[in-house]
């Protein structure tokens, strides 16, 4: 991807219609090697953007889904305690029986395995500690995978706002220097530069330190024309007039004060449902049957039925006259 226009085209061929800012930020992320922080309401395609970048660049996507209480062990790496325990026990057993060959995958035989990274500070293998704190006992987690990968990847850190501030602080090292320090092994540096995309639903303010390291992109619900294109892209058989009508109704619903406004994904689902039903127009009966696809709260359903349902024509009444 050489220019902004080209990035836009590449994303489009990967099935993502990016607007001008999104394409530009995607392009900058690649050229500058900076992480991108994407914020916006739920369901505007934040995660999809990362997936599209991965498809467009042909890089593998590594995803870290954030949640409450996510900690380093789940995000970075973890020592495989069970394997370490087994190894110690096996060693003790063989030593007791005077056996010659230790079962544990000792480092002295491990000539084939690549050391973890160029920054590794090798210690002299003395005692049991050095034998069980090696790569063989390391369970890599998404962040570590992205850093240690030999192929360039796209790293998606999804819903970063769900974690706590301590976790954000831990991310800083990964995001600014693309390296991870493991006390027992040393510093592991990235071999290739991953494209990092962080998404946030803005449910809490992220720390300044994290924001400073990122490019910022705010994604909002698309304009009517663009949403129509998106719907048509994902449901190509849908009639153009019907697609326009559908998007207009969706936009009308978003104007209401709902608990959960319909997202782009839901407009697409709705479009597919209409195709399946073979509907030719969105009238009141069709709308009421399929409303549950786009509105997901009881109170919202009432409100939408009352406000939007009435505006749609009821075919039976017209015919009756």
């Amino acid at each position: 991807m050489e220019s902004v226009a080209e990035t836009k085209r590449a994303l489009e061929s990967a099935g993502y219609l990016a607007d001008e800012p999104a394409a530009l930020v995607a392009y900058l992320a690649q050229t500058l090697g900076k992480p991108v922080l994407v914020e916006g309401p739920a369901g505007v395609g934040k995660t999809e953007l990362a997936k599209a970048i991965s498809r467009a660049t042909g890089r593998e996507l590594i995803r870290l889904q954030c949640y409450e209480g996510l900690d380093e062990a789940k995000a970075l790496y973890e020592w495989n305690y069970r394997k370490q325990l087994l190894s110690i026990q096996a060693r003790a057993a063989t030593e007791a029986s005077g056996g010659a060959d230790p079962v544990g995958p000792g480092r002295e035989a491990g000539s084939g395995a690549d050391p973890v990274g160029p920054g590794r500070e090798a210690e002299e293998p003395t005692g049991i500690g050095s034998q069980i704190f090696t790569e063989d006992f390391l369970l890599t987690r998404p962040l570590m995978q992205a850093i240690a990968s030999t192929e360039p990847v796209v790293l998606l850190i999804d819903e970063i706002d769900k974690t706590d501030q301590e976790f954000e602080a831990m991310l800083l090292e990964v995001l600014s220097d693309f390296q991870i320090s493991i006390p027992e092994l040393g510093v592991i540096e990235s071999r290739t530069h991953p494209i990092v995309v962080l998404t946030s639903n803005n449910s809490r303010e992220l720390t300044e330190a994290l924001k400073r390291r990122c490019l910022y992109l705010w994604l909002d619900y698309p304009e009517i024309e663009r949403e129509m294109e998106i719907v048509r892209l994902h449901a190509p058989e849908l009639d153009a007039a019907l697609a326009r009508r559908l998007v207009e109704v969706i936009q009308m619903i978003r104007q209401l004060d709902l608990k959960k406004p319909p997202s782009i994904a839901e407009s697409v689902d709705w479009a597919r449902a209409l195709l399946l039903l073979g509907a030719e127009d969105i009238d009141r009966s069709v709308f009421e049957q399929t409303m549950s696809i786009i509105v997901k709260h009881r109170t919202d359903i009432d409100l939408v039925a009352e406000r939007v349902g009435v505006k749609l024509g009821a075919p039976e009444e017209i015919e009756a006259r």
Binding site: L24, L28, L32, L37, K162, N202, E205, L303
Partner: protein
């Protein structure tokens, strides 16, 4: 080093631009500036949209910042271009060409169409035509803001309510008119600079651009946007505290169970699940005329709170107090709520002036027994007693019984205790009192209620 690859003169301009952003309270650090230079080098700087987005993505790190960024960007680069023109004594040709051929009717229709179709450059040309047409009639006042409004009125451009569809041309909304006004303003300013050959003094963004849109005549949607954000914050309130492990208690039973896996060695600690704190909140909201402008906003805050807290009781008061919890729970729509509150609240007796003393007395009688250390009392009001007895001692009793008491005052701190405001008498009893007239103030407050942290004294 950072200026390489950029045309000469652009780097200092950019730095000056960042200075201006800093003056508007956008946190632009050195690292952001370096990023911005890199980004600008990576995109063709001759493309206005790319240039702007590249700067925006690197410098503005939140939606609020982005809004200020856009305002300052427009102003700064527009001014910079105009200053250059004055310097070189460049002049545009006759700008009034074509103005006389159009009558307001035609012009208005053209503008409507351009707004509906979103054709920005056409809007700009139309703005010029409009200015030319009105300049000819000698209606210009010379003050940009006044002229903009005059032209808009003469053209009869009014936002339409979504409901009433008139048949002449496509409907236009507030947003579209704002766009047109921006073009008008800019073109008028351009003309002014050309005439006087000097730039108007640079003023910081008006406080108005950032304050809460409070008066009912202003856009209610803007209030809602602010509150929607608040809603999201409140929704994740309990969660944030659950994630913290450091205060949690080890569950011995569970730990022993888990230790079976590791041969009886308690290798993993299990913690007792922490219940999120669900405070009981009681909100008292002044709806009298002295806070008319703020009460619309406060009511919508109440509305948002009701969505997020199950145990929330709300009261409105002027001379008397009235519980409106039920109205908020039953009605989803904000407009309906404000109507019902004013119709059924029954809070004004005769004068319509707030009587805080009586309000406290009634409140203590009605709810006083139900207050306990886990309840939070929030008062939204300006503490202007209209010369009546404040009865701060009753308020003190209320505050003493409840766990936390917060006061949100829609007036800037500067005005507290002037005139009939008795804020200090009440403030003594509060856990904290806040001025609350911008979204930021509101967020500060939410942080306190949510996180249980008190703000640092400012």
């Amino acid at each position: 080093m950072s200026g390489e690859g950029l045309p000469p003169g652009l780097a200092p301009r950019l730095v000056a631009f960042f200075e201006e952003l800093r003056a508007e309270d956008v946190a632009v650090g050195t690292s952001e500036i370096l990023d911005a230079f890199e980004a600008v080098r990576a995109v063709p700087w001759t493309e206005p949209a790319d240039f702007r987005e590249a700067l925006g993505a690197t410098v503005a790190k939140s939606q609020d910042d982005r809004r200020i960024f856009d305002l300052v960007f427009d102003r700064y680069f527009f001014r910079a271009a105009e200053a250059e023109a004055v310097d070189r004594e460049l002049r545009e040709g006759d700008r009034s060409a074509g103005g006389e051929r159009l009558d307001p009717e035609q012009l208005r229709d053209a503008i409507r169409e351009a707004i509906a179709a979103g054709r920005e450059s056409e809007l700009r040309d139309l703005a010029r035509l409009a200015i030319a047409a009105f300049g000819r009639r000698g209606q210009g006042s010379g003050v940009v803001g006044v002229d903009v409004q005059r032209i808009r009125r003469t053209l009869g451009l009014q936002p339409q309510a979504p409901g009433d569809q008139r048949d002449d041309g496509p409907p236009i909304d507030r947003e579209g008119i704002n766009r047109f006004e921006r073009h008008l303003r800019r073109e008028l300013e351009r003309g002014l600079i050309e005439r006087t050959e000097k730039l108007p003094p640079s003023r910081p963004l008006a406080e108005l651009d950032r304050t809460l849109p409070t008066s009912p005549t202003q856009d209610l949607a803007a209030v809602h946007r602010a509150v929607a954000q608040l809603k999201r914050r409140l929704a994740t309130l309990g969660h944030e505290q659950r994630g913290r492990r450091r205060n949690s208690v080890v569950d011995v039973r569970k730990t022993m169970r888990a230790s079976l896996e590791t041969g009886g060695v308690p290798m993993y600690l299990r913690y007792r699940a922490k219940r999120p704190r669900r405070p009981e909140i009681i909100v008292l909201c002044d709806v009298s005329t002295s806070v008319t402008s703020a009460s619309v906003f406060f009511l919508s805050v109440l509305h948002a709170l009701h969505d997020s807290f199950r145990k929330l009781r709300s009261f409105v008061f002027i001379e008397r107090i009235s519980e409106v919890t039920e109205i908020f729970e039953r009605e989803r729509d904000f407009r309906q709520i404000s109507q019902r509150v004013s119709r059924e609240g029954g809070v004004a007796d005769i004068s319509g002036y707030t009587d805080y003393g009586r309000v406290w007395r009634e409140f203590a009688e009605e709810v006083g027994d139900e207050l306990h250390p886990r309840s939070t009392v929030i008062v939204l009001g300006d503490a202007r007693t209209n010369g009546r007895e404040p009865h701060a001692e009753i308020f003190g009793q209320i505050a003493a019984r409840s766990g936390r008491t917060f006061w949100l005052n829609p007036e800037p701190k500067l005005y507290w205790n002037y005139g009939d405001s008795v804020m200090s008498a009440y403030e003594r009893h509060c856990t904290a009192a806040f001025e609350c007239w911008t979204t930021r103030h509101l967020e500060d407050f939410v942080n306190v209620v949510a996180g249980g942290r008190l703000p640092e004294p400012t």
